[in-house]
């Protein structure tokens, strides 16, 4: 038995959380596809704001033409002979705007309040818990309807309403995580070294819980898109005829007459983005959650 050569010490290279996540995500093709879908939707939204989408109000044909092989009529036409495809595209802009703006409003609120409440505890915590308990105790759809009555109807108020209601779940998660982290050794160490509260919260604790807002964001965008459609369907949302909700509302009478394409078009558009966001959300959690590192 010859003595085995001592194993060569490979230098252990620390892998950053982000790099590790990218690695995981990159290996899964379906996830990449989902991100591509989300990217396309965002691109459509950007094109919409750049004024590069075709005018959905233009009449491209007769009333209720079924789908055919011309670009404008790929999804057929609506009651006034407008292209269903163009309406879906413009609706995409609305939906993505709402999704992103709502996430942009509610995530900072949720993270900020959650972190502060979890870290300081005491009266501040009680106040924050009281606030989100009050908000959750009101059925959210009614709360949103109430807010949109106060703010008037339209895109801005739908965004604000959804954003102001949507932070609760995330706030609760962050608060719980921060509570857990604030007595960990690394936090104590930082404190011993004389770090201030702000530094501890934002430099030390938050990076450790950052996967939560990222995952929540993808689900929140999804929720906001669905809520907008429901609100608009109920008549309290967007009313300019360029949202998926109004298209679904229009379809209620049309379906009975055998006109399926407007509903089919908008349903597919919604399905694709919601499915993509779901897949992306799950993948992000798998990739980012430090607890899942083996």
């Amino acid at each position: 038995m010859s003595a085995a050569a001592p194993p060569v010490q490979q230098p252990v290279v620390g892998q950053s959380l982000g790099a590790r996540a990218m690695g995981i995500l990159r290996r899964r093709r379906f996830v990449l596809l989902s991100f591509a879908v989300i990217g396309i939707y965002i691109l459509i939204a950007v094109l919409g704001y750049a004024g590069l989408l075709p005018d959905f109000q233009e009449r491209v044909g007769e009333s209720y033409e079924p789908p055919s092989w011309s670009f404008a009529k790929l999804l057929g036409t609506d009651i006034f002979g407008r292209s269903v495809l163009y309406k879906v595209l413009v609706g995409t802009r609305t939906a993505m705007t709402i999704g992103l703006v709502v996430a942009a409003i509610s995530i900072p609120i949720g993270v900020g309040l959650g972190a502060v409440a979890g870290y300081y505890g005491g009266k501040i915590d009680a106040l924050v818990v009281w606030l989100y308990s009050v908000i959750t105790s009101v059925p959210s759809i009614l709360l949103i309807i109430g807010i949109s009555y106060v703010l008037g109807k339209g895109l801005v108020s739908v965004c604000l309403a959804l954003g102001l209601v949507g932070w609760v779940g995330l706030c609760r998660l962050i608060r719980g995580e921060v509570l857990k982290h604030k007595n960990r050794e690394y936090v104590l160490a930082a404190r011993l070294l004389g770090a201030g509260d702000g530094r501890i919260i934002f430099r030390h604790i938050l990076p450790n819980v950052l996967h939560l807002p990222i995952v929540t964001a993808s689900l929140m965008i999804l929720g906001a898109i669905k809520s907008e459609v429901i609100l608009t369907f109920l008549g309290v949302g967007i009313q300019d005829g360029d949202s998926w909700g109004t298209m679904i509302q229009d379809a209620t009478g049309e379906l009975a007459q055998g006109i399926w394409w407007p509903l089919a078009g908008v349903t597919f558009a919604m399905f694709a983005i919601i499915y993509a966001l779901n897949v992306a959300g799950d993948a992000l959690r798998d990739a980012l959650d430090p607890k899942l590192i083996d």
Binding site: Q57, R59, S63, I79, F80, K153, G235, V236, Q239, D240, G241, T246, Q249, D250, T252, G253, L255, A256, Q257
Partner: protein, 623 residues
């Protein structure tokens, strides 16, 4: 009566439904989505013992069965069949004509034109009720009439419909003020009303504040039904659920959330009309001429709020009539050369009836708005840009007629009686007018705000249609959609630019529509445009109390010209209402002034066959 307004009428109508909903206000509208159930229609009209049972769906809970306390169609449907009014509208005659009901003859006007002599029909008895001595209904007297009118004026009883008769009868407004100061429970006998003079047991002199041929219309409105004092006092608060009148039916079963059953009142005084319009005899509408009413034994009114189940039950033969809304219309009705016919197989099973509604749909400009109010060429440009004909075609499937005057077609003095021409769709003229308005090609013109009185998809689609038409000539539009009450608030406070509006006739006279633009009726009155034109106002006052004829129509013609040239409103359309009914239903004439003509209709027993299953259904209703 110039302040009477649609807002007090039954529930706010979305634009599309405004006419349709009133054809049989009570029998209402359907939105059916999926396919309807099929199966052989069976005939539940007859139950054991050969009783004739009319079945009609109630589409909403009634608010109150106290005549003076209600002013919605769900309540009027029942109130109008249990109580009687002094006058009523002739069931068959058109244009609509008042005929005596509880009165023995039409009121007689004095020489000076300000006093009506009302003579009561003798021998009319109230329904039997424990509130009367011995439980037997006593005879109606003129004291009941005086009591009912005073009670109608009592502000503690009637908050909704007094405007029908405001400023009409001498001293009645003062009486109303007295009740306001006194609070509930005022002794009516202690306060005489100068304009209500008793003249024996059966006669009343009604003194008017001025000459006013419109004064008789309110006497036919259900809130002015005649009630008995003993009953009101015996039931107190409960009177709103315990109707006892002189009408064709008595309340047999009163389940507000379930089935209301009305039973024939065998001593009812009324008889079927013995004259009608040309063609009524051929259509069989006069076969029962002179017959004692009502013709059916019972009326069953199940509450079916959702429209699809109601339509399903109609198609199964479990309801005798039903209105047809847009979705069902597309499915069930064919239109050829302006004629509407049921498609097969519906045509073999049911009958279709259409009627022009008594409503005008229009767009009102706020004349105080610095942009649209000041710029007549801009308003004309919008009038030329809109395309009412195509709107009717696409949005309403032809179920309306374009209007050239503010008066709906079935009312005397409409465009059928006077010469009128109006804006027709013309994008070139619209662009020209836009240049005149100072906004060539729409340049420099801010987006115009349109306020709507409902948030339904039909309203929104209507706006989208208009937005497209306006965009085609360079006018941008923003739509704002409100609940009816929010809309009214906005309109009344003058905080709007353009409002989508409509008016349903309070009484079938052109005056009720021309008053919509009378200067003194400005906000919060019905003239929401705040339009004021001295010549128009002068002509309005001149024509107001004239009787219909060439002289009055000539004035209408001039008023219509003023409205056309100054465009305070853009007139749109007069919708057509649709209903279908079972072939067994007879004498069903579309009378837009009768809320629920149950006493006139009959059921053909020969067409009634299968029974049995219905009782299960009714058992289900009970539960």
């Amino acid at each position: 009566m110039d302040t009477v307004r649609t807002r007090t009428l039954p529930s706010p109508r979305p634009e599309l439904g405004s006419g349709a909903a009133r054809l049989l206000p009570a029998l209402l509208v359907t939105i059916a989505l999926g396919c309807m159930g099929s199966g052989e229609p069976r005939n539940p009209a007859i139950e054991d013992g050969g009783r004739k049972i009319l079945r009609v769906a109630r589409r909403a809970e009634y608010k109150s069965l106290d005549p003076a306390g209600q002013f919605d169609s769900a309540s009027a449907q029942i109130v109008g069949n249990i109580y009687d009014t002094l006058l009523e509208y002739h069931y068959l005659q058109r244009p609509y004509e008042l005929v005596p009901n509880l009165l023995a003859e039409m009121p007689q006007l004095s020489e000076d034109g300000t006093t009506y002599l009302l003579t009561l029909r003798r021998g009319v008895r109230f329904h039997d009720d424990p509130a009367f001595p011995g439980g037997v209904g006593r005879e109606l007297t003129i004291d009941d009439v005086i009591y009912s009118i005073k009670r109608f004026a009592d502000v503690n009883v009637n908050v909704k419909s007094y405007i029908l008769i405001q400023n009409v009868i001498v001293g009645l407004d003062a009486f109303r003020d007295a009740t306001r100061q006194h609070g509930p429970g005022m002794d009516y006998d202690a306060h005489d009303v100068e304009g209500l003079q008793r003249d024996g047991d059966y006669r009343l002199k009604l003194r008017l504040t001025r000459e006013n041929p419109l004064a008789l219309y309110p006497l036919a409105a259900t809130p002015m039904s005649i009630v008995a004092r003993e009953v009101v006092e015996a039931y107190g608060e409960d009177f709103a659920r315990h109707p006892v009148g002189t009408g064709p039916f008595t309340m047999h079963r009163n389940d507000r959330r379930g089935r209301v059953v009305l039973a024939k009142y065998p001593r009812y005084h009324g008889r079927y009309p013995d004259r009608g319009m040309a063609g009524d005899r051929e259509r069989g509408f006069l076969e029962d001429a002179g017959a004692r009413l009502p013709l059916v034994d019972e009326v069953h009114l199940p509450l079916i709020e959702e429209s699809q189940p109601a339509m399903l039950r109609f198609r199964k033969g479990e309801l005798d009539l039903h209105t047809v809304d847009r979705d069902n219309f597309i499915k069930m009705v064919d239109r050829k050369d302006g004629e509407f016919r049921l498609r097969s197989p519906y045509a073999e099973q049911f009958e279709l009836i259409t009627a022009e509604s008594l409503a005008t749909e229009y767009i009102a400009f706020n004349m105080n708005d610095p942009l649209v109010g000041e710029n007549v060429a801009l308003r004309q440009a919008i009038a030329y840009a809109l395309d009412v004909e195509e709107y009717i075609e696409i949005m309403l499937n032809g179920r309306a007629a374009p209007l050239k005057t503010v008066v709906p077609l079935p009312i005397a003095g409409s465009q059928r009686d006077i010469g009128a021409d109006y804006y027709e769709h013309n994008p070139e003229r619209a662009k020209q007018k836009l240049v005149e308005a100072g906004f060539p090609g729409g340049e420099g013109l801010p987006a115009i705000r349109f306020d709507y009185r409902s948030t339904t998809k039909e309203t929104r689609q209507g706006f989208e249609f208009m937005r497209y038409k306006l965009a085609a000539v360079g006018i941008k539009a923003i739509g704002r959609f409100h609940t009816f009450s929010a809309y009214l608030q906005r309109i009344e406070s003058g905080n709007f630019q353009v409002g989508s509006s409509g008016w349903y006739a309070d009484y079938p006279d052109a005056e009720n529509f021309y008053q919509l633009l009378f200067g003194k009726n400005g906000p919060p009155g019905p003239n929401i445009s705040a339009f004021a034109d001295p010549e128009y106002d002068r002509l309005y006052l001149q024509s107001r109390f004239m009787t219909n004829g060439p002289a009055r129509f000539a004035i209408f013609e001039r008023m219509s010209e003023i409205l056309r040239d100054r465009v305070p409103v853009i007139l749109r359309y007069n919708s057509i209402s649709f209903a279908i009914y079972q072939k067994r239903l007879e004498n069903f004439s579309a009378n837009m002034m009768v809320d629920a003509p149950f006493k006139y209709v009959d059921l053909d027993i020969r067409l009634a066959a299968d029974e049995g299953v219905e009782s299960e259904r009714e058992a289900a209703d009970e539960r």
